[in-house]
Symmetry: C2
Subunit: 235 residues, 2 copies
């Protein structure tokens, strides 16, 4: 077999499909994101993707080695969107907070795709840019390199971890979605105070809080702690 996939920058011949569509890796990624946004994660199949593109399903394999390969491309696209238009302000804490919220938001905008992609390391251009930016903020803030790297790691994984969990909540098929809320209302809100005193005492607060993402709060806690350490060591 001559290699089935030709790297995008080397592509010369762009031959339209029977239905007149000119394919590209970018078009396929965008279509996949749209498909998944419209019909859920379970709609992301090669066959449906082909139909949505207006091409034979197997044409996808001329651009990606496998569905997993496509997923990596989707992941990098989401990271790219998170950074689009971002500029540093010079205030390390505000910058880090903004990047964290942007990453989280970019994945929440495509929860079904986030669920599939957020835990993948892409090693591609957009990911590398993000790493460079975040490390730069921390080092310029005055964190010594070992500390900068450790905080970078915790910060990024925290962002992505919350992105996965919160995406999961959004991505549940609407039937299961309301079921998930019912779980809290039904199972937790009416537990007996003698067997579960702490849940019973805070049930009203819990049901309110579980409907929101805990990420902004968790992010602030992380930044609080980082700032305290900077004050201790650096300043």
């Amino acid at each position: 077999m001559t290699e089935r996939v030709v790297p995008e920058p080397e592509r010369k011949r762009r031959r339209p499909t029977k239905q007149g569509v000119v394919l590209s890796a970018e078009l396929i990624v965008d279509t996949a994101l749209r498909l998944v946004g419209l019909h859920g994660a379970e709609a992301l199949t090669v066959r449906r993707l082909g139909a949505a593109l207006g091409a034979d399903p197997s044409a996808v394999y001329r651009y990606f080695h496998s569905t997993d390969d496509l997923l990596i491309a989707i992941a990098d696209e989401l990271i790219g969107r998170a950074q689009h238009g971002w500029r540093p302000t010079g205030d390390w804490r505000a910058d880090l907070r903004a990047i964290g919220l942007r990453i989280h938001a970019a994945y929440q905008a495509h929860p079904q795709a986030a669920l599939l992609a957020a835990h993948r390391t892409t090693g591609r251009a957009n990911e590398i840019t993000a790493v460079e930016n975040i490390l730069g903020i921390l080092r310029n803030a005055g964190f010594p390199d070992p500390e900068a790297v450790r905080i970078y790691h915790a910060f990024v994984d925290q962002s992505l971890g919350f992105a996965v969990l919160d995406a999961a909540a959004l991505a549940l098929p609407s039937a299961a979605l309301s079921a998930d809320y019912q779980v809290w209302q039904a199972s937790y809100a009416r537990l007996d105070a003698t067997t579960h005193p702490h849940i019973a005492a805070t049930a009203h607060l819990l049901t309110a809080d579980m409907n929101r993402s805990a990420y902004p709060h968790a992010l602030d806690l992380l930044l609080d702690a980082a700032e305290a350490r900077l004050g201790r060591s650096g300043g």
Copy 2:
């Protein structure tokens, strides 16, 4: 159709399969965990599960409505294992740290299953116990209820979020696993210092740190920040 699934506590007739195995929900969950541990997440199919059990695949549907239903049961089982044998010491910070590490460890012990299950809310017995325990620790420590609930939420979601990410790293098929490491070695370790100064300056630290979980560090940061707030408001 008479309902296909009979709730476990009401089961009376335990009829062995052709191969002489007596099925139960518990046996199926354990077998699924073993299967997934031995052969990866992609081995968790109803057909293989049937084979591993010594039963017709469709027998599983006498115990679970769907594979998703089975997944919820697996998730609750993992939460249960995380708490098995745990006892509070009275030191809120040590207790919370221990629970966080236990949750993380329980999922890391079954990374393939964790990847499938960690983002699901089960609403089942083991999950409820965990919620009650964590809330109790925070309220007894002196956190006011609204703060206790907010920290609880951030703490739990952070634990599960890192569990997912770290499970993903462990669960990659070994081919992709080394590939993931290669990504760091190849893509990051040799980036040009003029285009990516911060990555280049910390490459040696990065490659060392990315091989570990950032969870313990992130957990300590969260506990630091919580403790600081407690000192400010409560004491």
